[in-house]
């Protein structure tokens, strides 16, 4: 049995006038939680649907659990996968339990419906119609439908998009429980905190390509600075130049961000006093000053010059 749950090389997909995936390589190890992080339109959904065998690629090679799509064994392969799609709306007139039973009936082996109800914390909603569930409950049910076959590999496409913080946390807990059983997860997200918390490794995807791939910790460390100082001035014309800012003690990199500036630093205690001194000598007044620990968002910004949310 191969060590990798998922492998793809040189994946390509073009729609009428856009290239959705432009030569993408990935390898996901068994037991791993792997994240595809990128802005909307980066090609994450196309990539995951190619891996799920729902979209055929224009080029490239895909291997899922040691099998390939379209070799006459697709149904056997599907029985080993759990899939949650981004846009699926389950039948609103069926109850939670009926929906899970329906999906369970498609798999030759798998979990008991009652166990899945417990796993996704929907026991109390067992008899409720899907149409009456909250967004978070619907999403947990969708993941539950992906879990009924006791999959070796779970695909989740933006599982927490549009959910409130508490619902997101419940879904994260659910994934942690699934992984405790040894399952592999591939998920897409445009939430950096989600990728940082859930994923063992993250591929940052932009314009249909992987532009960085590593553990979240290593990606953040690649910035060479664990903190970001952001400031804004009352009068922009008094601002120091980028090179002046970059030359401040403790500052590794400086860049404008809209009407603000961001300084990457590993030594906030040196950078901030130096910044304040410089501004004072220029007679500039701060209207805003914050510092935060560097995140995958900052990695994305330093790689692309754009933010995840508005890219």
């Amino acid at each position: 049995m191969s060590e990798s749950a998922l492998r793809c090389r040189g994946l390509q997909k073009r729609y009428a006038d856009v290239v959705a995936v432009a030569g993408l390589d990935l390898e996901v190890t068994r037991g791993e939680c792997f994240g595809l992080l990128g802005p909307n339109g980066a090609g994450k959904t196309t990539t995951i649907e190619i891996l799920e065998g729902l979209t055929s690629p224009d080029g490239g090679d895909v291997e899922v659990l040691g099998e390939r799509w379209g070799q006459g064994r697709d149904r056997q392969l599907r029985a080993r996968l759990g899939i949650q799609l981004q846009e699926t709306q389950l039948n609103e007139k069926l109850s939670v339990e009926e929906t899970l039973r329906l999906f369970r009936s498609f798999y030759p082996r798998g979990r008991r419906v009652d166990d899945v109800l417990g796993l996704v914390e929907l026991e109390s909603k067992r008899a409720s119609w899907v149409g009456k569930l909250s967004g978070g409950q619907k999403q947990r049910l969708a993941v539950g439908c992906a879990l009924v076959g006791d999959p070796e590999l779970l695909f989740l496409d933006e599982p927490t998009t549009g959910l409130d913080p508490q619902s997101r946390r419940q879904l994260w807990d659910l994934l942690t429980r699934f992984r405790a059983g040894g399952g592999t997860v591939l998920l897409t997200t445009h939430y950096m905190d989600e990728a940082e918390i859930l994923c063992d490794r993250v591929a940052i995807v932009d314009l249909g390509k992987v532009i960085a791939l590593d553990t979240p910790r290593a990606l953040v460390a690649s910035l060479g600075a664990e903190h970001v100082v952001e400031f804004r001035l009352v009068d922009r014309s008094l601002a120091p130049t980028e090179s002046t800012l970059a030359a401040l003690p403790g500052v590794r990199d400086a860049r404008p961000e809209g009407d603000a500036w961001a300084l990457a630093t590993s030594e906030v205690h040196l950078a901030v006093p130096a910044l304040l001194d410089t501004l004072r000598t220029r007679g500039a007044t701060l209207s805003h000053l914050t510092t935060h620990s560097a995140t995958l968002e900052d990695v994305f910004v330093s790689l692309t010059g754009r933010h995840l949310r508005d890219a």
Binding site: R75, L85, T88, K93, E98, G110
Partner: protein, 348 residues
């Protein structure tokens, strides 16, 4: 991890899901079960008292009016009114009156000869006026009114309504549920699981058969109780006819819904498929009304086969052998549609 499946086989679960989805949709229940009964009721009432409907004839005001009116008094089936000369055209146009009489030594009858009521009114009026003018009848025949159960319009209508209902619930029911599942990306989610695609399509058909029992039972039961519509043939023959019809239109419904991406698109297609059959296949009036050149086409339509089979069984007591050819044609429509649908079906 227990391997014991605590669900039914997939085909049964899919069929159950289809049934639940349907009965939990009050609008669907109305259109499938209540609407045909309301329609039968309305048409039955409208046509039940056809024979004793009286025609309205109007006498134009002027010299001779009183004489004509006197001659027409007491003529059965005729109601007489008076009309000022200026309003004759309008009254005829609006069909307020079926015949207008302009009195005189040679009276003038104005009427639309394409309307049966007007032609009847003309004969009744003419006879009454001829008698008043002195004509002698050689004899007076005895009238013996007959209302034979089984040969009334309602008896002819109910099998047609039944056929139409089997067609429209098959086409609308399957078309809508499938296209809705497609637009909601539910089909895509289903094929992302190891579900058998054939099971899914078969479940849609099987779901139809369960409704069929209720829908046929409701319509036939109602028309029997309310209008005494008879069923001369065997129940089993009638059941088989309905079954073949439902599967045939179910297959056609799957085919119509196999590619459409939106509810609007499938509605248009369904209307395109159903409208010719509504008109041509003898639901409300006999398809023999259409020119001979069109008959081969009309006879090839599945609803024509179904309606003719239903009428043969219900009104003439035909057995399976007698309608075998028609049922075979229906079955061919169904099988070809189902196979084509399975091949063409767009799952995402």
């Amino acid at each position: 991890m227990p391997d014991r499946a605590d669900t039914y086989p997939a085909l049964l679960e899919l069929t159950l899901a289809r049934l639940r989805e349907f009965i939990r949709e009050p609008e669907a229940v109305f259109w499938v079960f209540v609407f045909p009964i309301l329609m039968t009721c309305a048409l039955g009432v409208a046509f039940r008292s056809r024979g004793d409907q009286s025609s309205v004839v109007a006498v134009v005001d002027g010299p001779g009016r009183a004489a004509v009116e006197a001659a027409l008094t007491g003529v059965p089936g005729i109601t007489v009114s008076t009309l000022p000369p200026g309003e004759v055209d309008r009254a005829l146009q609006r069909s307020d009156v079926q015949l207008v009489i302009e009195p005189g030594t040679r009276p003038t009858y104005r009427f639309d000869p394409t309307r049966a009521e007007s032609r009847l009114a003309r004969r009744a009026v003419d006879e009454a006026l001829q008698r008043a003018a002195g004509r002698h009848d050689q004899f007076t025949a005895r009238d013996q009114p007959v209302e034979t159960v089984g040969s009334r319009y309602i008896d002819w209508l109910v099998p047609g309504l039944l056929g139409m209902n089997i067609m429209s619930t098959g086409l609308w029911g399957l078309g809508f549920s499938i296209v809705t599942a497609r637009t909601r990306k539910l089909l895509k989610r289903l094929v992302a699981s190891p579900m058998s695609r054939r099971d899914y399509l078969l479940a849609q058909l099987f779901g139809r058969l369960v409704f069929l029992v209720v829908e046929v039972g409701a319509l036939l039961g109602f028309s029997r109780i309310a209008f005494g519509v008879p069923i001369h043939g065997a129940w089993t023959t009638l059941a088989i006819t309905c079954l073949v019809g439902a599967l045939s239109f179910g297959g056609l419904g799957l085919l119509v819904a196999s590619r459409a991406r939106t509810v609007e698109a499938v509605s248009g297609l369904l209307n395109l498929v159903m409208l010719p059959m509504w008109l041509l296949s003898g639901v409300f009036f006999a398809s023999s009304n259409f020119p001979a050149a069109m008959q081969p086409f009309i006879r090839a339509l599945p609803l024509t086969s179904l309606n003719e089979s239903l009428r043969a069984v219900m009104l003439e007591g035909a057995d399976l052998a007698a309608i075998g050819g028609r049922l075979l044609l229906l079955a061919v429509w169904g099988v070809v549609s189902f196979v084509a649908a399975l091949r063409l079906f767009r799952w995402r």
